[in-house]
C-alpha cells in the first residue's frame, strides 16, 4: 500500500479553503516526472497549475474537471503499474476525506500572519515551519506583500523555519517609509531578524526584495548563510519605467489587467481577485504616497538608481540567481551577465514572477541551494 500516493488539493495562500479543478493536463495511465504539470486549479484568488512533487504514474483521477473540492481532498492516485486496480479502488474508498473547512478555521491562527514591533515600527510577518536547519527569510518586491510567496513559503517550511515579512509601506505593515530607499528596507529586514533573534538566515529576495537582500548581506555578512535573488533589482540600470509609473498611478479596476499582464508570461495568472486585493491595498491611506516615494528613490527617470553589482562581487557567500526568460520588468540580460560567476537559473515561458509562475521548479532550486549551504 505504501507505493500508492494520494494527490490532494493543495493549500495556496492563507485563505484558501477549496479549489476548483479546471482541467487535467495528464490522463489516467500517463507517467510524469517531478515538476511536471498535472492539472489546473482555480481558487478565489488565483489560477495555477499543480505540479507533481515526485515522479509517478497517474493511475486514477478522482476529482473530475469542474469539481470544487476542499483543501486536502483526494484529487488523484499515483502508483506503479504493478499495483493492481483493486488496491487502487480500496485506497480511494478508504481515503479519509478532510472535514469541510468551517468558516472559523478558514484562517488557521497558526498559519495566519501577525503584527510585530520591530525597530519601533509595526510590521506584519508570517512565520511558518521550524526545525534545526538555518531559517529562510523571504523579502518581496515593490508593491507586493508576503503573499508573493504563497506557493513557496509552505513548501520551504517543510524542512526549516520560513519567515516572510511585509516591508514598510506594503501589505499589513506600517505605511510610513521615510526615504523609501534600500537602507530603510534593509534596516526593516535586520529589525525582523533581531526581533526573532535569528543569528543566521538564508535570504530569498524577489525584485526590489533581491536588492534589499544584497544590502542586508553587505551590512551583516556574518548573519547571511546564502542569497537567492529572483528577478532582482540592483543588477543593472534597465527597468520598465512605464510599468512602475502605471503601478503607482493605478486607481481603477479596468486599467489593471493590461498593466499587470506585463508581470507574467501568461496573463491568465492575474485573476480578478488578485486585482481586487491589489486595489484594496492601494486604496489605504498613505499607500500611494509611499509607493511614489519608493519609486522615486529606486527607479527615478525609468532607470535603476542602485547598482549593487560591485557589492555582490565583493560578497564571499553563496549566491544564486533565478530569472524568467520573458521578464518584461527587469530584463533577463541582467541574469545572463552573471552566468559566468554565479549559478544562474533562467526559466522558459516565465515573466517577472518566477516564484508564482513556476513555483514547483523555483521551490526545488531554492531547497537544493539552502540544503547545500546550511
Amino acid at each position: 500500500m505504501t507505493e500508492i500516493t494520494a494527490i490532494t488539493m493543495p493549500k495556496w495562500g492563507l485563505t484558501m479553503t477549496e479549489g476548483k479543478i479546471l482541467g487535467w493536463l495528464k490522463q489516467e495511465g500517463d507517467s510524469y516526472g517531478a515538476g511536471e504539470e498535472l492539472l489546473e486549479i482555480e481558487t478565489t484568488k488565483i489560477t495555477n497549475v499543480f505540479e507533481a512533487s515526485d515522479p509517478g504514474i497517474l493511475r486514477r483521477i478522482v476529482g473530475a474537471a469542474g469539481a470544487s473540492l476542499p483543501v486536502g481532498a483526494l484529487l488523484a492516485v499515483s502508483a506503479p503499474q504493478s499495483v493492481p486496480d483493486a488496491e487502487i479502488d480500496a485506497f480511494v474508498a478508504g481515503f479519509a476525506a478532510p472535514e469541510p473547512a468551517a468558516e472559523a478555521t478558514a484562517e488557521d491562527t497558526a498559519l495566519a500572519p501577525r503584527e510585530i514591533e520591530a525597530g519601533g515600527r509595526r510590521l506584519r510577518v508570517l512565520d511558518l515551519g521550524g526545525g534545526s536547519a538555518t531559517p529562510v527569510v523571504l523579502v518581496h518586491g515593490f508593491g507586493a506583500d508576503l503573499n508573493a510567496w504563497m506557493f513557496n513559503q509552505p513548501a520551504l517550511a517543510g524542512s526549516r523555519r520560513a519567515i516572510a515579512l511585509d516591508l514598510p509601506g506594503h501589505g499589513g505593515s506600517v505605511k510610513v517609509v521615510g526615504a523609501g530607499d534600500a537602507e530603510i528596507f534593509a534596516g526593516a529586514v535586520s529589525d525582523v531578524l533581531a526581533a526573532f533573534d535569528l543569528d543566521r538566515v538564508h535570504l530569498v529576495g524577489h525584485s526590489m526584495g533581491g536588492a534589499i537582500a544584497i544590502e542586508v548581506a553587505r551590512q551583516q555578512k556574518e548573519r547571511v548563510a546564502s542569497l537567492t535573488l529572483i528577478a532582482s533589482a540592483g543588477l543593472g540600470p534597465e527597468i520598465n519605467g512605464a510599468f512602475i509609473d502605471g503601478f503607482v498611478r493605478l486607481q481603477r479596476r479596468r486599467e489593471a489587467p493590461e498593466l499587470l499582464a506585463a508581470l507574467v508570461h501568461d496573463p491568465a495568472l492575474i485573476s480578478r481577485a488578485m486585482i481586487e486585493e491589489l486595489l484594496r491595498y492601494k486604496r489605504l491611506d498613505g499607500v500611494d504616497a509611499a509607493l511614489a516615494t519608493i519609486a522615486r528613490a529606486w527607479f527615478a527617470q525609468g532607470s535603476q538608481v542602485l547598482d549593487l553589482r560591485p557589492a555582490l562581487a565583493a560578497l564571499s557567500l553563496p549566491v544564486q540567481v533565478i530569472w524568467g526568460h520573458d521578464d518584461r520588468i527587469i530584463p533577463v540580460a541582467h541574469a545572463e551577465a552573471l552566468a559566468g560567476t554565479l549559478p544562474v537559473h533562467i526559466l522558459d515561458q516565465v515573466g517577472h514572477l518566477p516564484q508564482m509562475e513556476k513555483a514547483g521548479e523555483v521551490n526545488r532550486v531554492i531547497a537544493r541551494f539552502l540544503d547545500a549551504h546550511d
Partner: protein, 337 residues
Amino acid sequence: MPQKSIRQALNEALAQEMRRDPRIIVIGEDVAGGAGSEGQRDAYGGVLGVTKGLFGEFGESRVIDTPITESAIMGAAAGAAVTGLRPVAELMFSDFFGVCFDQIFNQAAKFRYMFGGKATTPLVIRTMIGAGRSAAAQHSQSPYGIFTSVPGLKCVVPSNAYDAKGLLISAIRDDDPVIFCEHKLMYDLRAEVPDEPYTIPFGEANIVRDGDDVTIVALARMVHYAAEAAEALAKEGIEIELIDPRTTSPLDEDTILESVERTGRLVIVDEATPRCSFATDIAALVADRAFAALKAPIRRVTAPHTPVPFSPSLEKLYIPSPEKIAAAVREVYGYAK
C-alpha cells in the same frame, strides 16, 4: 482581517475622518444620543448606533443634535458646507426628503454651478432606505432614483461593510453634495474591513461574481438576493456576472456595457418602484449603447408601482426575491428570437 458590521464600518469612517479633519461636523436628530432627554448622554449613539461615541470624543460643537426639523438640518448643513465646514448631516429616513428637498435639490446641488465654480459644497447626507421591516409606506421607500436624477448631487448605495467605510470616507472628502443611502435591514451585515482609513472611488462598480451567460445589475440588499439567485442558477449551468454599481451617480457605465457586450443578456434588480427609476436608467443605457449585443429583451425585477405595503405578507411580495430574480434570468437565458 477584522470582520465588522456596516454599522461599525460607518462609525469607524466617521470617527477617523473627524480626527483627521476638524472641519467635519455631524448634524441631525439624535446624533448625540438624544440631547435634552433624561439619562446618559449618547446612550444610543443615534437611533441606529452609527454615531455612537462621536459626541464623547468630539463634543457638542462638532456633534450637533437638532430638533425634528429636516428643513433646518439640511439648510444649516448646506450653509455650513459653502462657508467652510464639511458637514455630515443625517436625514434619518430618506422618505422625509420631501420636507427639505429645496435645501438639497435647489440649493446645495446648484451652488457650484451657479457660482461659477467659486463655491464648493462638501456636504454628506446620510439617510436610510429600504423596505422589509413593516415600517409602512412612509418609512420604507428607496428614493435613490430621485437623488440620482438631480445634476449636482452624487448618490452612493453600498451593499457591504467594506464598501460602506471606503465610500463614506470618499463622500466626506468629496467637494460636492453626496447622498449616502444606508439600507435599514443591512446594518448588522459583516465583512472584512481594514482598520486603516481607505477610499473607494465613485463611479467604479464592483464585480461581485464573474460569469458569461447573463449580467445582473443590482444595488444594496438586492445584491445579496441576486447573489443567492446566481448560486442557484450556477447549479443549472447558468453563469451570472453580478455587478454592483455602488454609486448611481456617477455611474460606472463602462463596466455594465462591457459585461453586456459579452453576455448579451441583462437583468436589473431594484427594490425601488419601476417608473423613471434606477432600473429604467440602466435599461435605457444598455438599449442605447449596446443594442447590437443583446440576445434577449432586458428584464427588470423591481417593486410594483405602488406604495410599500404595511402587511408583512404583502411587503414580502412587494420586494424582489431570489426566486423572482432567478425566474427572470431563466426567461432571458432561454429566450429565442
